[in-house]
């Protein structure tokens, strides 16, 4: 653990030198942003996104998210699975005003292993949905969000 942190520290400077910014690229033509992101319940969002709410629970999906969130505004989440032919991964936060947090479309060659940081307004269940071979699989975990203000 300590070694890892050391490496991170060493790599801090000089990473951005290669990045160049360009604006006004033509918008990439891909699936349209789904209205599922506006839905206020998990089921509505599932229907909007996949046309069904039928999910199979599968505990081989790894949903890495802290049981107690250090900071509800920034909760790191990783979803990964060894299933084959994964085309989509989505993440839901049940009690957020709009539960669908993010949806990843994974072309062939891209690993079913995505990370993101999300907001959790309160303690709740976070759900990951994996679409593989046209079927939907899910796993979930409860996350406790504490109210702080004193840390560090």
């Amino acid at each position: 653990m300590r070694e890892k942190r050391r490496l991170l520290l060493k790599g801090l400077l000089g990473i951005t030198t290669m990045a160049t910014a360009m604006t006004a690229m033509p918008r990439l033509a891909m699936a349209k942003w789904s209205k599922a992101f506006d839905s206020s319940s998990v089921d509505d969002a599932l229907n909007d996104l996949y046309g069904t709410t039928a999910l199979t629970t599968d505990d081989t999906i790894t949903l890495k998210i802290p049981e107690i969130a250090e900071n509800g505004a920034v909760v790191p989440v990783t979803v990964k699975t060894k299933m084959a032919n994964v085309t989509k991964i989505s993440i839901f936060a049940e009690k957020n005003p709009q539960p669908l947090a993010a949806s990843f479309t994974l072309p062939e060659g891209t690993a079913a292993d995505v990370s993101i940081r999300i907001r959790l307004g309160e303690s709740q269940i976070v759900k990951a949905v994996v679409e593989a071979d046209g079927k939907l699989y899910t796993t979930e975990q409860e996350v406790k969000v504490t109210i702080g203000g004193c840390g560090g």
């Binding site: 290669m18 006004a24 699936a31 909760v75 993010a102 479309t105 995505v114 993101i116 940081r117």
Partner: protein, 100 residues
């Protein structure tokens, strides 16, 4: 947007941090007591050459200054990738980075 991309075991591991307020449209400005209008990244796409290797759609629950990480095959050291975000105001930004 900052991008760190490197080859690990034949796969390109990409980590990116976009600078964006990710306003939900639900938050009030403490001083004016007015609702801050929604402005959030809806879409983040990564291309390797012409191929889209990653496409993420975001809702309002993604943290401010969104961070993402993903892994894809078929790239080598020295290749370029381009990441583009588009937000709810149709504002867009593309940043290129070389895989190390």
């Amino acid at each position: 947007m900052k991008i760190k991309a490197k080859i690990r075991r034949d796969m390109a591991v990409v980590k990116a941090l976009a600078k964006h307020p990710m306003e939900t449209g639900l938050r009030k400005d403490k001083k004016t007591d007015k609702i801050i209008p929604a402005k959030f990244i809806k879409e983040l796409v990564c291309k390797h050459g012409d191929k889209v290797v990653y496409h993420a759609d975001f809702g309002r629950s993604v943290s401010k200054n969104p961070y993402v990480a993903f892994t894809f095959a078929g790239a080598k050291k020295g290749d370029s990738i381009a990441m583009t975000w588009t937000d709810s105001d149709e504002e867009t930004l593309t940043v290129e980075s070389v895989i190390k």
